[in-house]
């Protein structure tokens, strides 16, 4: 369970990026966050696994406070997978090595164990035949699936996705979304920053619309699409749905 309590984040004392965000995400739930760029969606994700330091509020992951100095942040992060817009695969390592690095370093797994697990994960995301290729030899969709496998190799209970498909060619988006749908149905706790409304409709339990560091709309999926309360959300939905249709 992810418990976000009154989180505020600002840069340079005045530019407020997150403004008093509160939200509880239950275990096994999938939450989609959408909103215009600069609305604080990505910053919120980075706060959740301690990649960004926020000035006010608290975030608990299964009861453990992210910013408590007594928390072993590395151990905590190991259980929270993260997938980035620009993949961020390590370019000097093969797909296989990208996946096995952290399990071997953090969990002290043997190479054999780590590689078996990595192979199984690559199979699960449908690209085991690319295991020994370098990132630059892979397509965008393949890269992102390796990145998902890399995160899954740490056996996380939670996965954070930061616009995972927005750097992909259109024909590769579905291969990544398919993997994510599978994860959501498999009981993974997921927070997904995306504008893929088809994906949201299919698997999201809740959808949040953010603007200027605040949660403007926070509703169950069907309510969000059928009966959005704020005019700002309606305007955003109209644009994004028309655009995609």
């Amino acid at each position: 369970m992810i418990d976000i309590k009154g989180v505020s984040l600002w840069y340079d004392n005045d530019r407020r990026v997150l403004d008093d965000i509160t939200e509880v995400i239950g275990t096994g739930r999938t939450v989609v966050i959408c909103g215009p760029s600069g609305s604080g969606k990505s910053s919120l994700l980075r706060c959740i696994n301690g990649l960004e330091h926020f000035q006010k509020g608290e975030i608990f992951i299964d009861g453990i406070s992210v910013q408590d100095t007594r928390t072993d942040i590395h151990k905590l992060r190991a259980r929270i997978g993260m997938v980035f817009q620009h993949f961020e695969l390590y370019p000097h390592m093969t797909a296989m090595h990208n996946i096995t690095l952290a399990p071997m370093q953090v969990y002290k797994k043997t190479r054999r164990e780590a590689e078996e697990k990595a192979m199984a994960l690559l199979e699960r995301v449908g690209i085991h035949e690319q295991a020994f290729k370098y990132p630059e030899e892979l397509s965008g969709g393949q890269k992102q699936r390796v990145a998902i496998a890399r995160a899954l190799a740490m056996e996380p209970g939670t996965m954070l996705f930061d616009e995972p498909t927005s750097a992909l060619d259109p024909e590769m988006i579905s291969e990544v979304l398919d993997v994510m749908v599978g994860l959501a149905r498999g009981g993974m706790t997921m927070i997904v920053v995306t504008h893929e409304m088809g994906f949201a409709r299919e698997v999201a339990d809740r959808i949040m619309f953010m603007d200027e560091g605040r949660i403007i709309e926070n509703a169950g999926t069907s309510e969000f699409f059928n009966n959005p309360k704020s005019p700002r959300t309606r305007q955003f939905l109209r644009r994004i749905l028309n655009y995609h249709a």
Binding site: H74, K75, R77, G81, F84, L89, Q105, A147
Partner: protein, 216 residues
């Protein structure tokens, strides 16, 4: 021109070249290692690491190398009570001095990486040290190859300064031969040629290495 003077004294001078190489290689290895540590401190968000390393780098970059050698050699007996051997004094001053330059090269190389790579490494639970060791430094070193090779070549030339404390490296031996034979023109042209050839070979090897690391 009497090139015979070079032939006659060649073994003696070549012996000095060996010492020059020894000084250069130890300095490059030691300076690089100390430089990595300094660079990591300079990149750290912890002020107790950042500030001492920053002061160190600015201090040594603000001094001529020859002064560092003098200080270490002539002041260390005053401070510690025992004198340093010339070779040790030279190595220590070279490593201390060049580490500051290596640190800045390495820091720039690390900063050239996208912040995303660091976040990706952290997000899988790797510690700062593990991220640096496996993700950041291997990539940064590739970006740094040209600057590192240039620095190595400069170090090779800088070793000639060890002559000020009486170390008989290559240039010092050329100097000694000249004192005996009074053939400055031939001898210093020869010395220049030797440095030029070795440094050119080093630079060419560097650009080959650069091409190779780009490909892989």
């Amino acid at each position: 021109m009497d090139l015979g003077v070079i032939a006659r004294n060649f073994p003696f001078m070549a012996g000095g070249l060996l010492l020059t190489f020894e000084l250069a290689l130890i300095t490059i290895a030691g300076g690089f290692l100390v430089g990595v540590v300094l660079a990591l401190c300079r990149l750290s968000s912890r002020s107790w690491l950042y500030y001492p390393a920053t002061v160190y780098v600015h201090f040594f970059r603000g001094l001529p190398l020859i002064l560092v050698i003098f200080w270490l050699y002539f002041l260390s007996p005053v401070v510690t009570g025992s004198s340093l051997k010339a070779f040790n004094a030279a190595i220590i001053s070279f490593v201390l001095f060049e580490a500051a330059y290596f640190a800045e090269i390495i820091r720039a190389g690390v900063q050239s990486l996208s912040r995303g790579q660091i976040m990706a490494a952290y997000s899988t639970g790797l510690t700062q040290f593990q991220s640096a060791r496996h993700v950041i430094l291997p990539q940064a070193v590739r970006n740094m190859v040209p600057a590192l090779v240039t620095q190595a070549v400069i170090i090779f030339q800088d070793t000639s300064l060890a002559y000020v404390i009486g170390l008989r490296e290559f240039l010092r031996r050329v100097n000694l031969v000249d004192a005996r034979e009074a053939r400055s023109v031939e001898l210093y042209l020869f010395a220049g040629l030797v440095y030029f050839i070795i440094c050119s070979v080093g630079s060419m090897a560097g650009s080959r290495l650069e091409k190779r690391t780009k490909r892989s």
